[in-house]
Amino acid sequence: MVMTTTAAQIEGWLEAVKDPEIPVISIKELGILQSVDVDGDVVTVNIIPTYSGCPAMYAIKEDITAALAARQITNPNIKIHNAPAWTTDMISESGREKMHAYGIAPPVARGHAVACPLCHSKNTEVISQFGSTACKALYRCLDCAEPFDHFKCHAPIL
Protein backbone atom coordinates (compact mmCIF):
# COMPACT_ATOMS: atom_id res chain seq x y z
CA MET A 1 0.00 0.00 0.00
CA VAL A 2 1.32 3.45 -0.90
CA MET A 3 1.09 5.96 1.90
CA THR A 4 -0.18 9.30 0.71
CA THR A 5 0.43 12.52 2.52
CA THR A 6 -2.37 15.04 2.55
CA ALA A 7 -2.05 18.80 2.32
CA ALA A 8 -3.72 19.11 5.74
CA GLN A 9 -1.08 16.83 7.29
CA ILE A 10 1.72 18.92 5.82
CA GLU A 11 0.10 22.14 7.01
CA GLY A 12 0.03 20.57 10.48
CA TRP A 13 3.75 19.77 10.29
CA LEU A 14 4.50 23.31 9.21
CA GLU A 15 3.05 24.56 12.53
CA ALA A 16 6.60 23.85 13.71
CA VAL A 17 7.97 26.59 11.47
CA LYS A 18 8.07 29.79 13.50
CA ASP A 19 8.62 33.36 12.41
CA PRO A 20 12.38 33.99 12.73
CA GLU A 21 11.78 37.37 14.38
CA ILE A 22 8.92 36.34 16.70
CA PRO A 23 9.88 32.72 17.41
CA VAL A 24 6.72 31.91 19.40
CA ILE A 25 4.35 32.34 16.44
CA SER A 26 4.10 29.95 13.51
CA ILE A 27 4.11 31.17 9.93
CA LYS A 28 0.58 29.77 9.69
CA GLU A 29 -0.63 31.88 12.64
CA LEU A 30 1.04 34.94 11.14
CA GLY A 31 -0.72 34.44 7.79
CA ILE A 32 2.51 33.89 5.83
CA LEU A 33 1.63 30.26 5.04
CA GLN A 34 -1.35 30.47 2.69
CA SER A 35 -1.80 26.89 1.46
CA VAL A 36 -0.17 23.59 0.62
CA ASP A 37 -0.86 21.60 -2.56
CA VAL A 38 0.03 17.96 -3.06
CA ASP A 39 0.17 16.62 -6.60
CA GLY A 40 1.62 13.11 -6.66
CA ASP A 41 5.15 13.45 -5.32
CA VAL A 42 5.27 17.21 -5.72
CA VAL A 43 4.57 19.31 -2.64
CA THR A 44 3.94 23.01 -3.24
CA VAL A 45 3.99 25.41 -0.31
CA ASN A 46 2.42 28.80 -1.04
CA ILE A 47 3.64 31.66 1.11
CA ILE A 48 3.31 35.45 1.03
CA PRO A 49 5.79 37.94 2.50
CA THR A 50 4.62 40.29 5.22
CA TYR A 51 6.49 43.45 4.13
CA SER A 52 7.86 43.81 0.58
CA GLY A 53 11.43 43.99 1.81
CA CYS A 54 11.09 41.46 4.62
CA PRO A 55 14.58 39.91 4.96
CA ALA A 56 13.14 36.96 6.92
CA MET A 57 11.65 35.35 3.79
CA TYR A 58 14.90 33.57 2.97
CA ALA A 59 15.16 32.13 6.48
CA ILE A 60 11.50 31.09 6.33
CA LYS A 61 12.06 29.23 3.05
CA GLU A 62 15.02 27.40 4.56
CA ASP A 63 13.02 26.54 7.69
CA ILE A 64 10.15 25.13 5.61
CA THR A 65 12.59 23.02 3.59
CA ALA A 66 14.17 21.69 6.80
CA ALA A 67 10.80 20.95 8.46
CA LEU A 68 9.66 18.97 5.41
CA ALA A 69 13.02 17.17 5.06
CA ALA A 70 12.47 15.89 8.63
CA ARG A 71 9.29 14.22 7.27
CA GLN A 72 11.11 12.75 4.27
CA ILE A 73 9.72 15.32 1.86
CA THR A 74 12.55 16.62 -0.27
CA ASN A 75 12.69 19.34 -2.91
CA PRO A 76 9.44 21.06 -1.98
CA ASN A 77 8.30 23.73 -4.38
CA ILE A 78 8.10 26.86 -2.21
CA LYS A 79 6.31 29.63 -4.06
CA ILE A 80 6.37 33.23 -2.84
CA HIS A 81 3.28 35.08 -4.07
CA ASN A 82 2.67 38.81 -4.34
CA ALA A 83 -1.07 38.37 -3.91
CA PRO A 84 -3.03 38.52 -1.74
CA ALA A 85 -1.26 41.48 -0.12
CA TRP A 86 -0.55 40.49 3.48
CA THR A 87 -2.41 42.39 6.17
CA THR A 88 -2.42 42.06 9.95
CA ASP A 89 -6.04 40.79 9.71
CA MET A 90 -4.47 37.50 8.58
CA ILE A 91 -2.92 36.94 12.02
CA SER A 92 -4.95 34.29 13.86
CA GLU A 93 -6.42 34.74 17.34
CA SER A 94 -3.89 32.27 18.78
CA GLY A 95 -1.13 34.24 17.05
CA ARG A 96 -2.30 37.46 18.69
CA GLU A 97 -2.43 35.80 22.11
CA LYS A 98 1.08 34.39 21.79
CA MET A 99 2.39 37.74 20.59
CA HIS A 100 0.89 39.43 23.66
CA ALA A 101 2.34 36.81 26.01
CA TYR A 102 5.74 37.32 24.33
CA GLY A 103 5.61 41.02 25.24
CA ILE A 104 4.58 42.49 21.88
CA ALA A 105 1.33 44.46 21.78
CA PRO A 106 -0.72 42.92 18.94
CA PRO A 107 -2.14 45.10 16.15
CA VAL A 108 -5.19 47.27 16.82
CA ALA A 109 -7.29 49.20 14.31
CA ARG A 110 -5.75 52.51 13.30
CA GLY A 111 -6.50 55.33 15.72
CA HIS A 112 -7.16 52.98 18.67
CA ALA A 113 -5.08 53.04 21.84
CA VAL A 114 -2.37 50.39 22.15
CA ALA A 115 -2.43 48.53 25.49
CA CYS A 116 0.79 47.89 27.42
CA PRO A 117 1.53 44.14 27.28
CA LEU A 118 2.84 44.26 30.87
CA CYS A 119 0.23 46.22 32.89
CA HIS A 120 -2.54 46.45 30.23
CA SER A 121 -2.85 50.23 30.61
CA LYS A 122 -3.97 52.06 27.50
CA ASN A 123 -2.11 55.16 28.65
CA THR A 124 0.76 54.65 26.21
CA GLU A 125 2.67 56.77 23.71
CA VAL A 126 4.52 56.07 20.49
CA ILE A 127 8.28 56.61 20.61
CA SER A 128 8.92 55.73 16.96
CA GLN A 129 6.72 54.43 14.11
CA PHE A 130 9.54 52.04 13.25
CA GLY A 131 10.96 49.68 15.84
CA SER A 132 13.35 46.76 15.80
CA THR A 133 11.81 45.51 12.53
CA ALA A 134 9.67 47.12 9.82
CA CYS A 135 6.51 45.47 11.20
CA LYS A 136 6.86 46.90 14.69
CA ALA A 137 6.61 50.35 16.25
CA LEU A 138 8.27 51.36 19.52
CA TYR A 139 5.95 52.38 22.37
CA ARG A 140 6.23 53.36 26.02
CA CYS A 141 3.71 52.80 28.80
CA LEU A 142 3.05 56.04 30.70
CA ASP A 143 1.76 54.16 33.76
CA CYS A 144 4.36 51.41 34.36
CA ALA A 145 7.12 53.01 32.22
CA GLU A 146 7.67 49.78 30.24
CA PRO A 147 9.07 50.33 26.74
CA PHE A 148 7.57 47.79 24.34
CA ASP A 149 7.17 46.76 20.72
CA HIS A 150 3.79 47.10 19.05
CA PHE A 151 3.01 45.02 15.96
CA LYS A 152 1.64 47.74 13.66
CA CYS A 153 -1.71 47.56 11.97
CA HIS A 154 -0.86 46.77 8.35
CA ALA A 155 -3.87 47.23 6.12
CA PRO A 156 -4.95 49.55 3.32
CA ILE A 157 -6.54 52.86 4.37
CA LEU A 158 -9.88 52.84 2.60
Binding site: Y51, S52, S128, F130
Partner: protein, 251 residues
Amino acid sequence: MDAQHLYPYFLRLADTSMTMSQRLSEWCGHGPYLEEDVALTNVALDTMGHANLFYQLAVEVADDDVTVDDLAFLRDAHDYRNPLLTELPRGDFAYTMMKQYFVDVYALLLYRALTESCYQPLSDVAKKALIEVQYHHERSHEWLKRLCMSTEEAHQKMQKALDDLWFYTPELFETDAGIQALHEQGTAPDMSVIQSEWSSMVETHLAQCQLILPETGWVATGGLQGEHSEHLGYMLAEMQFLQRAYPGCEW
Protein backbone atom coordinates in the same frame (compact mmCIF):
# COMPACT_ATOMS: atom_id res chain seq x y z
CA MET B 1 -0.20 42.79 -23.66
CA ASP B 2 2.65 44.64 -25.26
CA ALA B 3 5.89 43.65 -23.48
CA GLN B 4 7.82 46.18 -25.53
CA HIS B 5 6.30 49.01 -23.46
CA LEU B 6 5.98 47.10 -20.18
CA TYR B 7 9.69 46.42 -19.79
CA PRO B 8 10.92 50.05 -19.78
CA TYR B 9 7.94 51.08 -17.64
CA PHE B 10 8.79 48.51 -14.97
CA LEU B 11 12.40 49.72 -15.05
CA ARG B 12 11.17 53.28 -14.55
CA LEU B 13 9.21 52.21 -11.45
CA ALA B 14 11.96 49.92 -10.13
CA ASP B 15 14.85 52.34 -10.69
CA THR B 16 12.95 55.12 -8.95
CA SER B 17 12.49 52.91 -5.86
CA MET B 18 16.03 51.54 -6.05
CA THR B 19 17.70 54.97 -6.12
CA MET B 20 15.44 56.27 -3.34
CA SER B 21 16.28 53.24 -1.23
CA GLN B 22 20.02 53.52 -1.81
CA ARG B 23 20.09 57.20 -0.81
CA LEU B 24 18.04 56.48 2.31
CA SER B 25 20.28 53.60 3.30
CA GLU B 26 23.23 56.02 3.31
CA TRP B 27 21.73 57.37 6.55
CA CYS B 28 22.43 54.09 8.32
CA GLY B 29 24.49 55.02 11.35
CA HIS B 30 24.14 58.76 10.62
CA GLY B 31 20.52 59.43 11.67
CA PRO B 32 19.94 62.39 14.01
CA TYR B 33 19.03 59.94 16.82
CA LEU B 34 18.71 56.19 17.19
CA GLU B 35 14.96 55.77 16.54
CA GLU B 36 15.14 57.99 13.47
CA ASP B 37 18.15 56.07 12.18
CA VAL B 38 16.09 52.88 12.48
CA ALA B 39 13.08 54.52 10.81
CA LEU B 40 15.10 55.81 7.83
CA THR B 41 16.62 52.42 7.19
CA ASN B 42 13.27 50.64 7.61
CA VAL B 43 11.79 52.91 4.93
CA ALA B 44 14.86 52.14 2.81
CA LEU B 45 14.19 48.41 3.27
CA ASP B 46 10.51 48.69 2.26
CA THR B 47 11.49 50.77 -0.76
CA MET B 48 14.13 48.26 -1.81
CA GLY B 49 11.37 45.64 -1.51
CA HIS B 50 9.28 47.66 -3.97
CA ALA B 51 12.24 47.91 -6.36
CA ASN B 52 12.66 44.13 -6.10
CA LEU B 53 8.98 43.55 -6.95
CA PHE B 54 9.08 45.91 -9.93
CA TYR B 55 12.33 44.33 -11.18
CA GLN B 56 10.61 40.93 -10.93
CA LEU B 57 7.85 42.23 -13.20
CA ALA B 58 10.52 43.43 -15.65
CA VAL B 59 12.26 40.03 -15.56
CA GLU B 60 8.96 38.30 -16.39
CA VAL B 61 8.55 40.28 -19.62
CA ALA B 62 12.24 40.67 -20.57
CA ASP B 63 13.42 39.35 -23.96
CA ASP B 64 16.73 38.22 -22.49
CA ASP B 65 17.39 35.81 -19.70
CA VAL B 66 18.06 38.36 -16.94
CA THR B 67 17.69 38.29 -13.17
CA VAL B 68 16.63 40.93 -10.69
CA ASP B 69 20.24 41.26 -9.56
CA ASP B 70 21.42 41.79 -13.15
CA LEU B 71 18.99 44.66 -13.53
CA ALA B 72 19.93 46.32 -10.25
CA PHE B 73 23.67 45.71 -10.27
CA LEU B 74 24.87 45.33 -13.84
CA ARG B 75 23.24 48.19 -15.71
CA ASP B 76 25.15 51.43 -16.11
CA ALA B 77 23.81 54.93 -15.41
CA HIS B 78 22.53 55.51 -18.96
CA ASP B 79 20.32 52.42 -18.64
CA TYR B 80 18.68 53.68 -15.44
CA ARG B 81 15.24 55.25 -15.94
CA ASN B 82 14.64 57.04 -12.62
CA PRO B 83 13.91 60.78 -12.51
CA LEU B 84 16.88 62.97 -11.50
CA LEU B 85 15.20 63.82 -8.17
CA THR B 86 15.75 60.38 -6.65
CA GLU B 87 19.46 60.20 -7.51
CA LEU B 88 20.38 63.54 -5.91
CA PRO B 89 22.79 63.26 -2.96
CA ARG B 90 21.01 62.79 0.36
CA GLY B 91 21.99 66.26 1.62
CA ASP B 92 21.04 67.25 5.16
CA PHE B 93 18.03 65.92 7.08
CA ALA B 94 15.76 68.73 5.83
CA TYR B 95 16.71 67.94 2.24
CA THR B 96 16.19 64.19 2.75
CA MET B 97 12.75 64.66 4.35
CA MET B 98 11.56 67.17 1.74
CA LYS B 99 12.57 64.79 -1.05
CA GLN B 100 11.00 61.86 0.82
CA TYR B 101 7.76 63.77 1.26
CA PHE B 102 7.59 64.63 -2.47
CA VAL B 103 8.25 61.02 -3.49
CA ASP B 104 5.90 59.58 -0.84
CA VAL B 105 2.95 61.64 -2.11
CA TYR B 106 3.84 60.64 -5.68
CA ALA B 107 4.07 56.94 -4.76
CA LEU B 108 0.86 57.09 -2.72
CA LEU B 109 -1.14 58.50 -5.65
CA LEU B 110 0.58 56.44 -8.35
CA TYR B 111 0.35 53.08 -6.55
CA ARG B 112 -3.26 53.73 -5.58
CA ALA B 113 -4.02 54.26 -9.28
CA LEU B 114 -1.95 51.21 -10.28
CA THR B 115 -4.07 48.95 -8.05
CA GLU B 116 -6.65 49.41 -10.84
CA SER B 117 -4.20 48.40 -13.59
CA CYS B 118 -5.56 45.84 -16.03
CA TYR B 119 -2.15 44.10 -15.91
CA GLN B 120 -2.83 41.87 -12.90
CA PRO B 121 0.79 41.29 -11.74
CA LEU B 122 1.30 45.07 -11.59
CA SER B 123 -1.96 45.60 -9.72
CA ASP B 124 -0.91 42.91 -7.18
CA VAL B 125 2.45 44.60 -6.57
CA ALA B 126 0.81 48.03 -6.26
CA LYS B 127 -1.63 46.75 -3.62
CA LYS B 128 1.25 45.41 -1.58
CA ALA B 129 3.45 48.49 -1.92
CA LEU B 130 0.59 50.92 -1.25
CA ILE B 131 0.08 49.67 2.32
CA GLU B 132 3.71 50.45 3.14
CA VAL B 133 3.80 53.77 1.31
CA GLN B 134 0.87 54.97 3.43
CA TYR B 135 3.11 54.71 6.50
CA HIS B 136 6.01 56.41 4.74
CA HIS B 137 3.77 59.28 3.71
CA GLU B 138 2.33 59.69 7.21
CA ARG B 139 5.87 59.89 8.58
CA SER B 140 7.37 62.32 6.05
CA HIS B 141 4.31 64.56 6.28
CA GLU B 142 4.67 64.65 10.09
CA TRP B 143 8.35 65.57 9.73
CA LEU B 144 7.50 68.28 7.20
CA LYS B 145 5.15 69.90 9.72
CA ARG B 146 7.44 69.41 12.70
CA LEU B 147 10.49 70.87 10.99
CA CYS B 148 8.67 73.79 9.39
CA MET B 149 6.88 74.78 12.58
CA SER B 150 9.73 74.41 15.06
CA THR B 151 12.72 76.74 15.14
CA GLU B 152 13.54 79.51 12.69
CA GLU B 153 16.68 77.62 11.65
CA ALA B 154 14.68 74.45 10.87
CA HIS B 155 12.19 76.47 8.86
CA GLN B 156 15.00 78.12 6.88
CA LYS B 157 16.55 74.74 6.11
CA MET B 158 13.21 73.39 4.89
CA GLN B 159 12.70 76.48 2.71
CA LYS B 160 16.20 75.98 1.28
CA ALA B 161 15.43 72.31 0.56
CA LEU B 162 12.19 73.30 -1.16
CA ASP B 163 14.01 75.91 -3.28
CA ASP B 164 16.63 73.36 -4.33
CA LEU B 165 14.23 70.48 -5.05
CA TRP B 166 11.02 72.02 -6.36
CA PHE B 167 11.91 72.06 -10.04
CA TYR B 168 12.99 68.44 -9.93
CA THR B 169 9.42 67.35 -9.12
CA PRO B 170 7.67 67.79 -12.53
CA GLU B 171 9.90 65.06 -13.94
CA LEU B 172 8.19 62.50 -11.68
CA PHE B 173 5.15 62.77 -13.95
CA GLU B 174 6.90 62.77 -17.31
CA THR B 175 5.74 60.24 -19.86
CA ASP B 176 6.87 59.04 -23.26
CA ALA B 177 5.09 57.30 -26.13
CA GLY B 178 5.44 53.91 -24.37
CA ILE B 179 3.88 55.08 -21.11
CA GLN B 180 1.11 56.82 -23.09
CA ALA B 181 0.41 53.56 -24.91
CA LEU B 182 0.23 51.72 -21.56
CA HIS B 183 -2.21 54.33 -20.30
CA GLU B 184 -4.42 53.83 -23.36
CA GLN B 185 -4.45 50.06 -22.72
CA GLY B 186 -5.47 50.58 -19.08
CA THR B 187 -2.13 49.37 -17.68
CA ALA B 188 -0.86 52.71 -16.38
CA PRO B 189 -2.77 55.74 -15.11
CA ASP B 190 -2.99 59.17 -16.74
CA MET B 191 0.08 60.88 -15.26
CA SER B 192 -1.36 64.35 -15.83
CA VAL B 193 -4.19 63.44 -13.43
CA ILE B 194 -1.69 62.10 -10.88
CA GLN B 195 0.31 65.31 -11.26
CA SER B 196 -2.65 67.58 -10.61
CA GLU B 197 -3.66 65.52 -7.54
CA TRP B 198 -0.06 65.71 -6.33
CA SER B 199 0.15 69.47 -6.85
CA SER B 200 -3.05 70.22 -5.02
CA MET B 201 -2.07 68.01 -2.05
CA VAL B 202 1.55 69.19 -1.83
CA GLU B 203 0.85 72.88 -2.38
CA THR B 204 -1.81 72.84 0.35
CA HIS B 205 0.59 71.20 2.83
CA LEU B 206 3.47 73.52 1.94
CA ALA B 207 1.24 76.57 2.40
CA GLN B 208 0.14 75.25 5.82
CA CYS B 209 3.83 75.02 6.69
CA GLN B 210 4.31 78.63 5.58
CA LEU B 211 6.81 77.67 2.93
CA ILE B 212 7.00 79.71 -0.26
CA LEU B 213 7.21 78.05 -3.66
CA PRO B 214 10.20 79.24 -5.69
CA GLU B 215 9.21 81.04 -8.87
CA THR B 216 11.95 80.15 -11.29
CA GLY B 217 14.55 77.45 -11.63
CA TRP B 218 15.98 74.82 -13.95
CA VAL B 219 13.31 72.21 -14.62
CA ALA B 220 14.95 68.80 -14.45
CA THR B 221 14.40 66.27 -17.21
CA GLY B 222 16.21 63.40 -18.89
CA GLY B 223 15.84 60.34 -16.63
CA LEU B 224 13.30 58.66 -18.88
CA GLN B 225 15.85 58.83 -21.72
CA GLY B 226 18.72 57.68 -19.52
CA GLU B 227 20.25 61.16 -19.30
CA HIS B 228 21.27 61.65 -15.69
CA SER B 229 23.15 64.01 -13.41
CA GLU B 230 26.75 63.17 -12.48
CA HIS B 231 25.49 61.92 -9.10
CA LEU B 232 24.01 58.66 -10.40
CA GLY B 233 27.34 57.27 -11.63
CA TYR B 234 28.96 57.75 -8.20
CA MET B 235 25.96 56.17 -6.50
CA LEU B 236 26.03 53.12 -8.76
CA ALA B 237 29.81 52.80 -8.37
CA GLU B 238 29.25 52.22 -4.67
CA MET B 239 26.00 50.26 -4.95
CA GLN B 240 27.22 47.92 -7.68
CA PHE B 241 30.81 47.45 -6.51
CA LEU B 242 30.35 43.99 -5.02
CA GLN B 243 28.61 42.46 -8.05
CA ARG B 244 31.10 44.05 -10.43
CA ALA B 245 34.12 42.88 -8.43
CA TYR B 246 32.73 39.43 -7.58
CA PRO B 247 30.32 38.52 -10.39
CA GLY B 248 27.45 36.26 -9.31
CA CYS B 249 28.29 36.68 -5.63
CA GLU B 250 25.31 35.86 -3.39
CA TRP B 251 24.59 36.93 0.17
